[in-house]
Structures are given as C-alpha cells and as structure tokens.
C-alpha cells in the first residue's frame, strides 16, 4: 500500500511541475491590454476600447532614476482612429492582391512559423557486466514547430546472442506548456519476448531548475494496467567538450503484471553516470557505469528467470543527432 501511495505521489508531483507556469500564462493574457485592443480593432471597430489597462500599463514601467531620458509622462493610449483607416495591407494598392496574399503567407511562415526535424540518438550503448551483456538504445525523431511537435521515440535493449529483450516505440504529440516543459500524449507499443502491450501515454518533458532534463510519463495499457516512468539527467561540463552526465530512471507499476514480470510499486531503478567527449556537438562517444536494480516481486520475477536483480554494468556508447 505504501508503494502504491508513493507511486501516486511521484506521478502527481511530476505531472504538476508545469502547473504554476500554466497559471501564469493566464494572468499574463489577462493583462495584455495591447493584444485585446488590437483584436477588437481587427473585428472592425474604429474606436478602441478604454479600460483600466492602458493606464495601468502606463505606470508599470519603472523609470530608472538618473536615466537621461524618461522624464516626461507620455500616455500609452490606443492609436488614433485614423490609424485604422485605409486598406489592411498597404501593398495591395500597388501590387496584385493575389501575389501579396501569397507573399504575406510566406513571411508569416518565415518569421517564426517554420518547423524543424531532428533525429536524436541519445544513447546507443553496449552494456557489459555480470549476467548477460547486451545493447541498449534510446532515440527519437521530433518534427514540428515551437509549440506543437510530433515525437516518435524508441528505446529498448537486446542481449548479445538472444535478440531483443525489451523494446518500445512511442508516437506522441508534444505541446509546449510554459517556458520549460512540453506535454506529451500518445501511444506506446511495448515489444519483445514478453506479451506485448499497447498503452496510452501521458507525460511531461522539459528542463527543471538546476538544469535537470526531466521526463515523467504515465501509461495505461489496453488491459487497464497503470505504469509510470520518471527519467532525470543533467550535463555537468568538465571542459567545453568533456561532459559528465548523471542519469537516473525509475519505473513504477500500480499493479502486478505477471506476464511481464512486473511487481507493484517502484519496480526498477537505473542510476548511472556517463562521461562523453563531444568531438562535435552531434557526435559524442562515451563511457560510463550504471547500477540497475529491480525491487520487490519484480526482483523475484527476474531471479526466477535467472537474471540478477541488482547489478552494476559498464557502458560504452555513442550519442549523436542529425
């Protein structure tokens, strides 16, 4: 029971990280008299509204004492009515409207509306230690704009000579919430020798104070199983190119999932540190060490199939992106 409560606490905590930021967004919007005035004008009003906002804005700028410039108190009123007269787009008076409409569309796109596509291979590494040696990977493709993005993520591990042990593919829609975090929602497909699961996935990913990259996700399978994952990592620069990266990943389950060898509560933890050298920003080999531990009945399941539930592995791999 304690474990279940811990799980719920951890999940709520992780999912609530960006909440204050969301709240701030709203207050920011309410105070934006500028934007409000303009949106009213664009609906055809010629006399902009006066509410308390303009006056408020007028007093909001602290004037630096001793500054050479700001002696006068100039009102921050709306534009005079004649500023709203005439054509919406002056260039339409001189050039074919169709050409201008197209060019306007293009310039809107060019000034902030363009998207990017990036393929990231965060980890591609060999793991060597007691028990079976293997390979693991974690990578993603992200494509889209600043606010909304499509993510295709994959991670998994394979034992040398035994094929894939565990793998997953996620397809997520990411939406920026606040300055630092993205909400990510979508579908995760687990693959491998154990019975597969299809899950809906909901989580947040972003940069927490003190430069920790955090990802927290909850998964609900088609069989009704609730699980979760929290990852955290940070880059400690030793030099401009030599970077030490502590990283931890914890898995949780709200229930026992026998056919996947998963117990309840905190099921497993990986904590490691990797030292990479960025020959180029996009090409950085690394070495490291990782402690992998399974807990409770998850550990029992592991022991039952001959795996060590508590082991330390050396890792060597490559971080790259394109």
């Amino acid at each position: 029971m304690t474990k279940a409560r811990f799980l719920i606490g951890a999940l709520t905590g992780a999912l609530l990280i960006p909440a204050p930021v969301l709240a701030q967004d709203h207050s920011g919007h309410d105070m934006s008299s500028h934007a409000m005035d303009h949106s009213q004008h664009s609906e055809g009003m010629t006399m902009p509204s006066h509410d308390g906002h303009d006056a408020h804005e007028g007093h909001a700028m602290p004037m630096a004492p001793g500054a050479p410039s700001m002696a006068q108190d100039i009102p921050q009123g709306p534009p005079p009515p004649e500023a709203f007269s005439g054509p919406d787009h002056a260039a339409d008076l001189f050039f074919p409207g169709e050409d201008m409409a197209h060019a306007r569309h293009m310039v809107r796109h060019e000034m902030g509306g363009m998207g990017t596509t990036i393929v990231m291979l965060d980890r591609l590494e060999a793991k060597l230690g007691k028990g079976s040696d293997g390979l693991s990977w974690e990578g993603a493709l992200r494509t889209g704009g600043d606010i909304d993005r499509l993510w295709i993520k994959s991670e998994g591990e394979a034992a040398f000579g035994e094929g894939i042990e565990d793998a997953e593919v996620e397809v997520l829609w990411g939406h920026a919430i606040g300055a630092w975090f993205d909400l990510q929602a979508g579908v995760r497909q687990e693959l491998g020798p154990d019975p597969d699961r299809t899950q809906v996935s909901l989580g947040v990913e972003g940069l927490a104070p003190y430069m920790f990259d955090i990802s927290a996700q909850a998964f609900l399978s088609t069989k009704g199983e609730l699980t979760a994952r929290i990852e955290a990592e940070t880059d400690q620069r030793l030099t401009q190119r030599l970077i030490l990266q502590p990283r931890a990943e914890a898995l949780f389950s709200a229930q026992r999932i026998a056919d996947r060898g998963t117990g309840r509560g905190l099921t497993s933890l990986e904590a490691g540190v990797r030292l990479r050298y960025e020959f180029a920003r996009q090409f950085a080999p690394y070495v490291g060490v990782e402690w992998q531990k399974k807990f409770g009945s998850t550990a029992d399941y592991a022991r039952a199939v001959g795996d060590d539930p508590d082991r330390v592995v050396a890792v060597a791999g490559l971080r790259a992106w394109f």
């Binding site: 701030q24 207050s27 920011g28 919007h29 105070m31 934006s32 500028h34 934007a35 303009h38 949106s39 408020h56 909001a60 700028m61 602290p62 630096a64 004492p65 001793g66 500054a67 050479p68 410039s69 700001m70 006068q72 100039i74 009102p75 009123g77 534009p79 005079p80 500023a83 007269s85 005439g86 002056a90 260039a91 008076l93 001189f94 074919p96 201008m100 060019a103 306007r104 293009m106 310039v107 809107r108 060019e110 000034m111 902030g112 509306g113 363009m114 990017t116 990036i118 990231m120 600043d146 920026a176 300055a179 630092w180 927490a208 104070p209 003190y210 620069r237 030099t239 401009q240 920003r281």
Partner: protein, 592 residues
C-alpha cells in the same frame, strides 16, 4: 586617364592581394579590391567618380549564386553582381534613382535599402511592402534620394543576407560634407559560415548552446572572473547560461572585413597625415562587433548615416545593421583594425597602412564577457545599483514570491504587463533600466574610451523634436532553451496585430529588453530620434541595440504612410519571430 601615385599604389596593392591572397576570395568587388577610395565630395556624383561604384539614375543589379572561397573552401554564395559584398552603390542626395534588380536564383529574392527614406512600396520586404522578386524576374525600385550618409542594402528573403547578399550604399550630401576628409574607405563587417543560415537555425533549435564553446565548466572559466558555487546555483536555478553572449560564434563563423578573413590582410592605403573617413557597416547576420584600432584613436562623425557632433573614442560596439563613420589621422605606420565578435570567439581584421604588404600586430582576443546581475535586470549590487533599488517600484521583486527568490521573480508578469507569458518567454527582467549610457557587453572594464549612445548628439540644435503624444512599449522577449524570439511574447507567425500609427503622428517607442541578449532593433523607413538625454541634439538612428535588461526609447514621426517592417536585426531572431509590421494610415494623408 590621369593616375595619381595613390592610384598606382592602390592598383599595385590590389595586384598583390590578388596574387598572394590564395586564402581569400578573388571574387570581391571593385571597391574592396581597389582598397582605397579617394575623396569625392569635390566632384558631383556623375557615376564615374568612384572606381567600380554604381552611380547615376539607372542602376542594374543581378542576384545570382556565385562560388565564394574562403580559407581554401568554396561554397555557393548569393551575390549581387557576382561579389561578396556586393558592389558599392554611390548616390547623391537630391537625385532620383532607378534600381533594376534581376533575380537569377531559382527562389524568391529581394533587396532592402537599409536606412533609406523612401515610399514604402520600394522598401523591399516581401510580404510587407511588395511581393518579392520571383525567380528570373526583374523588379525596378524607384525613389528620390532624400538623405546622405553611409548605408547598406541586403536581401530580406530566406536568410540570403547570411549567405552574401549585401553591399554598401553611400549617398554624398548635396552641399558638401560637414567634415572634410582626404580619403575614405569602407569597412564592411560580416560573418560567413559554410553552414547555411537555416541549418544553423535548426541546430540552435535542437541545442541552443551548439556553437558556444566558452561555457563555464568545472575545469574551465573562460571569462577568468571569479565563479562561486552560489553563482553556479543561481544560474542553474534560472536554467540559463551566464556565457550566453552570442548564439552563433567563431566556432562556425569566419569574421570578414570587405569579404576577406582575418588572415587575408585586407589593406586600406593612406598617405601619412591624411584625414581618412572610415565608413563602418555591420552587415553581419548574427554578430555584434567591438571595433578598435590599437594605437589610433578615432572620431565618430556619423551614426546610421546621420552626422553627429564629433566625439573621439577608442572603441565602438556596433550592432548588426548599424553604421558609423569614423575619422582617423594615421601616422606613417601600419595599424590593425580589429573587430572582435562581442563574445570574443573570433575577430575580423584589416590593415590600414601607407604601403601595401605592411602588417601591424593583431592583439590576441580578449577574454569573453560573462553576464551579470545587471544583465538579468536585477542589479542589487553596491553603489548606484543599490540606489536604483530604493528608487524603484519594488512590486516586481516582492510580488508574491518572497522577494529575492530569483527563479520566481524572473518571470513575474507584473513586471511586464503587455507581455503574453507564452512558452516563448523564459524570463522577464525584474527591473529593466535605461542602459544607453553604458558600454556594450564585455567593455565595462576596458581601460580606454568606449562610445556609448549618450555620447551621440547632432552637430546642431534641432527644432523638429516635438514631444510625442503616445508611448508604445514593446517588450523584447525570448526563450533561449527553445530558441524562440518575439515581441511581447508573440511571434510574428502567430498573426500578431501590427503596430498602428496615424499619419504624422509622433510616438515614443520604448523597447524593453526582457532577455539577457543584446538585440539590435531596426525600424524600416524612418529615422527615429534616440531618447538619450541629448536634449535638442538627440541623434537620429535607424537601428538601435538594446542591452540585456535594458530599455531604449526613441521618438518617431510617422511621416510616410504604408506598411513597414520592424524587427530584431539578428537574422535568426527575426526568423524565429522577432518581427512585426508598423502601419501608418491613412495612405493619402486624408481620411480614407
């Protein structure tokens, strides 16, 4: 044709450069190749007074792709008339001009005349003032030349100014120069990368510190200033880097003067004792430069094309798209012109010398600057900072979050009403201040004189400085981690409303920099009067650098109707959304 000793010397120098400059491009324009410019003001601009300059009432320009070689590597540049930079266009105040620009690219292009007062439909911004120039089409710009001074032109399409599409534009005054000089040279600063601008932008979207190799590290302290655990924690708490001075650095850029790298020894020749006018233009895509000539003080006589009362100094910070005219009187020796990028990751260099082939020592790069509390808009240090503190409205600091907790107060909406706290806003400077009297980043502790905006004033009193009737506050906002840039928290792509002015309305713009980067902000189509404490001698500018957490005000009279671009002149900031349109209505001067 009569040839003075100078001409022969200049030609010889040109030949030497062409023969020995294997590292440099051979495809640079005549004005740069010839290396010196004789004084012209005694002669009317009939189209022949400057070698290689394009003058007269009809000028043809051709935009095309041309191989550009630098340091043994060749890339395809976008060029005007086949060179980087493009040809010198030299006009005369009072003339009319027709510039027929033909686009030989397979994509749209354009040329914008930076700082020129003209009918808006000739301003050259696709989607704002005209449709752009389609592939293999010609657009003819026509406008009367109403001003004089040092300007430039560049593409406003697809990041082409970052791949070579820029050149100098000099307008001789109708009635003689205020400051007579015996010689003039153009120093056009730029940044060149073999990675195209949009790929640089993509890399920054993936990893905003991609080009920054001067970070604070456990075993490296590039700025050399003390670095405490408290500082490290404070910056970490804010999720920001104190070494974030330039987004794109010498890690990919080669900094050029007149199209040549620092090793090419571009040389401007003078006769000892002459007064030489240096027309300095920052045509970079992303680089703010600190320019100095060790051993040679200079006198600033014009800023952004307009004359200023002469002020002698030793170093200037020149934001992207700004121009300065400097006068030097060199002795019989060689001098290095050093233009360091503001983050000191590299420099552009040229030589001023009495004879070709001379080289002056180039001082090593100075240590990179590190951002301070002042750059966050939280100057709570000693001295004047503490005084500011007590004088300020403290709401920003106290608001709900227990005062000094930096991570809370750094994004307090009460400090910046009018900003939408979108994901594109990672901080709001708690207490932005007027920094026009301060030196640019990294120049605080420089021992010699450094020009600041409050040094600039017009040579004579002005009677056109009427008080503005309205203030428009524009917050410069961004999120370095997401590499998003905007005004008031909204990117241009979000269908932001334009900034609307009435014809002949006089308004005050106050730019509030909520970020920790310097943003050179440009308003097309107007000179604005900088509010810098110069009273009736406030200088006119077209581009103004706003220091981190700084505020700059300028007044402008909206005397030309139309639609005008208004943007950060850091190319990739503009292309991330830090752009808007200023509309001036009605179009015909009467009610529409």
């Amino acid at each position: 044709m009569f040839q003075t000793p100078h001409d022969r010397r200049a030609l010889l120098a040109g030949a030497l450069t062409a023969g020995g400059g294997a590292a440099a491009s051979l495809l640079f324009p005549h004005w740069a190749r010839a290396q010196t410019h004789h004084h012209h003001s005694a002669h009317p601009a009939t189209g022949t007074t400057t070698e290689g300059a394009l003058s007269g009432e009809r000028i043809a320009l051709n935009i095309a792709r041309t191989p550009f070689t630098l340091g043994g590597r060749t890339a395809s540049a976008t060029t005007v008339n086949g060179t980087v930079p493009g040809p010198l266009i030299r006009l005369r105040e009072g003339q009319d001009v027709e510039l027929a620009v033909t686009n030989h690219l397979d994509i749209d292009s354009s040329i914008h005349w930076h700082g020129i007062l003209l009918p808006f439909q000739m301003d050259g911004v696709p989607g704002v003032t005209f449709p752009g120039i389609a592939p293999h089409q010609t657009f003819t710009y026509r406008f009367p030349v109403r001003q004089s001074g040092t300007y430039w032109y560049h593409s406003h399409s697809g990041g082409q100014e970052g791949t070579g599409l820029f050149g100098p534009l000099v307008i001789d005054p109708a009635h003689g120069e205020r400051v007579e000089t015996e010689r003039e040279m153009i120093l056009m600063l730029s940044d060149w990368s073999f990675t195209p601008p949009m790929e640089i932008w993509r890399k920054l979207k993936a990893r905003p510190d991609y080009y920054n190799f001067q970070q604070q590290a456990l075993f490296e302290n590039p700025s050399g200033k003390p670095w405490t655990q408290e500082q490290k924690l404070a910056w970490g708490r804010m999720r920001m880097s104190p070494m974030d001075i330039a987004d794109v650095t010498g890690a990919t850029y080669t900094y050029l003067i007149n199209g040549q790298g620092p090793d090419a020894n571009w040389t401007g020749l003078f006769r000892p004792g002459e007064r030489v006018r240096l027309r300095v233009i920052n045509a970079s895509a992303m680089t703010i430069f600190n320019l100095r000539i060790p051993g040679l003080p200079f006198t600033v006589i014009a800023a952004d094309g307009s004359d200023v009362a002469p002020v002698e100094t030793d170093e200037i910070q020149i934001g992207v798209a700004e121009t300065y005219d400097l006068v030097v009187t060199p002795d019989e020796r060689a001098y290095s012109v050093i233009a360091e990028s503001s983050d000191r990751s590299g420099f552009a260099r040229a030589t001023l010398a009495p004879r070709a082939g001379m080289v002056a020592p180039a001082p090593p790069l100075r240590k990179p600057p590190r951002l301070t509390m002042k750059d966050m808009g939280m100057d709570m240090g000693s001295g004047s900072g503490a005084m500011d503190h007590s004088g300020h409205d403290m709401d920003g600091m106290d608001h709900g979050n227990g005062g000094m907790e930096m991570n809370h107060s750094m994004r307090d909406p009460a400090t910046a009403p009018g900003v939408e706290l979108t994901p594109g806003v990672d901080m709001l400077a708690p207490m932005p201040t007027d920094r026009t009297g301060e030196r640019g980043l990294g120049l605080d502790d420089v021992k010699h004189r450094v020009l600041v905006y409050t040094d600039l004033q017009t040579p004579e009193d002005r009677d056109d400085l009427i008080p503005p009737t309205r203030e428009i506050v524009v917050h410069l906002t961004g999120n370095m981690e997401r590499y998003m840039w905007s005004f008031d928290g909204r990117r241009f792509s979000e269908m932001v409303e334009p900034i609307r002015l009435a014809h002949n309305e006089r308004v005050r713009f106050t730019l509030v920099n909520e970020t920790m980067m310097t943003h050179p902000i440009h308003l097309h189509g107007f000179f604005f009067d900088l509010v810098n404490g110069a009273g009736t001698r406030r200088p006119r500018k077209h581009t103004v650098s706003v220091l981190p957490a700084g505020k700059v005000s300028f007044d402008v009279t909206a005397d030309t109707p139309g639609d005008w671009a208004f943007h950060c002149h850091l190319l990739l900031h503009m292309m991330s959304g830090m752009f808007n349109v200023v509309t001036v209505r009605p179009m015909d001067g009467g009610p529409a």
